[in-house]
Amino acid sequence: MLIEQILIQTVNGIVTGMILALVASGLTLIFGIMDVVNFAHGELFMLGAYVGVITLAATGDFWLAFVISTLTIAALGAALYWVTLRPLLGRDALTTILATFGISLVLQNYALWQFGPVARKIQEPVTGHFSFFYLDYPWYRLVIALASAAIIGGLWLFLKFGTFGIWIRATMQDRVMAQAMGIPVPMVLTAVFAIGSGMAAASGVLFGPLVGVNHAMGLDWVLKGFIVVVVGGMGSLGGSIAASILVSLLEAYASLIVSPAQSVIVSFVVLILTLLFRPTGLFVRTPR
C-alpha cells in the first residue's frame, strides 16, 4: 500500500511541479532579463484564470478560452510593463518591487470588485479517470502536465533557435552591448514581459479546473514561484524547472506523513537550506 501511495504522490508531485514550472519560467525569464522581481505575477495568473472563465462561458471551448486568455494577459502584461516598469528600469530594485506590488494589489482588488468573492469553476476539457493502482486518477491532471511541458518546451525552442531568442539571450547577458549591436532592447524587454505574463495566464487557466477561481488564488503560486526561482538560481530557466519538480515532489511525499497544509513547510526548508549552503541556486553550474 505504501509503494502505491508513493507512486501516486510521485505523479501528483510531477503534475503540480509542471504547473509551478510554468509559473516560475515566466518569473525567472522576467527577472533574468530586467532584474525585476514581478510581484504581480500571481495576479496575472489569477486574471488569466478569470479570462478563461469568461471566454469558456461565452464560447464553450476550453482550448479556445486557453488561447484567448494567454493572448489577452500577454497584451495586458506588455501594457503594464510599458506604463509602470519601463520608466523605472535602471533605478533601485526597490522601486520596481514596490511598483509590481502596487500592481498586484490593484489587480487583486479589481478582481474582487468585478467578480465577487465567490469562487468560479472552470469545467475541465477532459473528464474521466483511469485506473492507477486501484485508484481512479483523473486524465485531466496528465493533460495539465503535458500541456505545461509542451509550453515550456516551446519556450525553450523559441529561445534556443530563431533570431528573437538570440536577442533575448543576448539582452539577458549584457543589455548595453546588445543595444550597441543594434538589438532593439526596449522591444525585447516588452516582449519578454508579455511572454512571461502569457505563461502565467496559461497556467492559471490550466490549473483553474482543479481549484476554484478566486481573486486571491495567485498568492500561493507566486510565493512558491519565488521559492523555486531562488532555489533553482535566479534567472536560470532550467534551474527553475528542475526546482519546481523537486519542491513539488518533496511536498507530495511529505503529505504522506503530515497534512497537505503542513507539507508546505518542506518548500521553506529547501529554500532556507539553499540560501545557507548554495545561495546562487542548486542547479546553476557557472555563477553569472
Partner: protein, 245 residues
C-alpha cells in the same frame, strides 16, 4: 592647426561634447572628426576620457552639451541600437562577448537584421571565418570559453557583421600576446582597405602610429594635439608630454 580630412563632410563629427558621470565632469568639450574610410588614432593616458568619447558617439553616454553628427545628421539623442543600425559599430575595451552564446550566435546578434538576405548573411559569415579561422573552428563553442585573443577577434568579427561604415575600436590589443597584436594590426589594415573607417583608442603607441592616418592626443577630457600620423614619431616630445612614454 588645420589638418582635417580632405572631404567636405566627415563621416563622424564630434562637436564640443561635455559629459558627466554623476558629478564628475569627464569630457570638457571634445571635438574630432573621422573621414570616410579613414583610420584615426585617439591617444592619451588612462582616464582622460578616450573610452567615454567612443561611448558618447555610440549613444551609450549622453553628452550634457555638444553634439555628434553622422554623415551630417545629428545622432546625439538616438538610442544605441538606432546608432548601430545607421552604420556605427562598437568594440568595447572589455570585449563584452555574450559568454553564454555560441560563437555563431554572437555573430548572429549583428547579422540578423532586416534587409539582409540569407545569401548576404552567408557571405558575411564566410568572410568572418576567412579572416578569423579560429572562429570557424569554434563556431559552436560558448563565447565565454574562448581565450582573450579569440574573444577580441570575435568582438571585431561581431562588429563587422553590422556592415558598419565606421568601427569604434577600444584598446583592441590590451593584454594580448605579440602574435595576436600583429593579427589585430593586420585586420585594421584589411578593414581600411575595404573602406571601413576606424576610430582607434589604444595604449600601444607604435601600433597606433603605424595603423592610423591621423592622431588626436587627449588630456584631462579635451583634445590637446592633432597631427598626421606620418609626422609623429614614438620619441616625439609631444608624445612624451601627453603619454609619458
Amino acid at each position: 592647426m588645420n589638418i582635417g580630412s580632405d572631404r567636405m563632410e566627415p563621416l563622424v563629427r564630434v562637436e564640443d561634447i561635455h559629459t558627466y558621470y554623476g558629478k564628475s565632469h569627464v569630457l570638457h568639450g571634445v571635438s574630432l572628426e573621422v573621414g570616410r574610410g579613414e583610420v584615426v588614432g585617439l591617444l592619451g593616458r588612462n582616464g582622460v576620457g578616450k573610452s567615454t568619447t567612443l561611448k558618447a558617439i555610440m549613444g551609450l553616454v549622453r553628452p550634457a552639451l555638444g553634439r555628434v553628427l553622422f554623415e551630417g545628421q545629428p545622432v546625439t539623442h538616438l538610442q544605441a541600437d538606432k546608432v548601430a543600425r545607421l552604420g556605427i559599430a562598437y568594440v568595447p575595451e572589455d570585449r563584452r562577448i555574450f559568454g553564454l552564446l555560441t560563437v555563431t550566435e554572437n555573430l548572429r546578434t549583428g547579422l540578423d537584421r532586416r534587409g539582409v538576405t540569407d545569401a548576404r548573411k552567408k557571405e558575411l559569415l564566410d568572410k568572418a571565418h576567412q579572416y578569423f579561422p579560429v572562429l570557424a573552428e569554434r563556431r559552436n563553442q560558448a563565447g565565454g570559453t574562448l581565450s582573450g585573443g579569440e574573444q577580441q577577434m570575435l568582438a571585431i568579427a561581431r562588429a563587422m557583421m553590422l556592415e558598419p561604415k565606421i568601427i569604434l575600436l577600444d584598446e583592441p590589443t590590451e593584454g594580448l600576446m605579440p602574435r595576436m597584436v600583429s593579427q589585430i594590426h593586420r585586420i585594421i589594415d584589411v578593414l581600411r582597405a575595404e573602406g571601413v573607417a576606424i576610430l582607434l583608442v589604444e595604449q600601444n603607441v607604435p601600433l597606433t602610429l603605424e595603423a592610423s592616418q591621423r592622431i588626436y592626443l587627449m588630456e584631462k577630457g579635451v583634445v590637446r594635439h592633432h597631427a598626421l600620423a606620418s609626422e609623429l614619431r614614438v620619441t616625439d616630445p609631444v608624445i612624451h608630454q601627453y603619454l609619458g612614454v
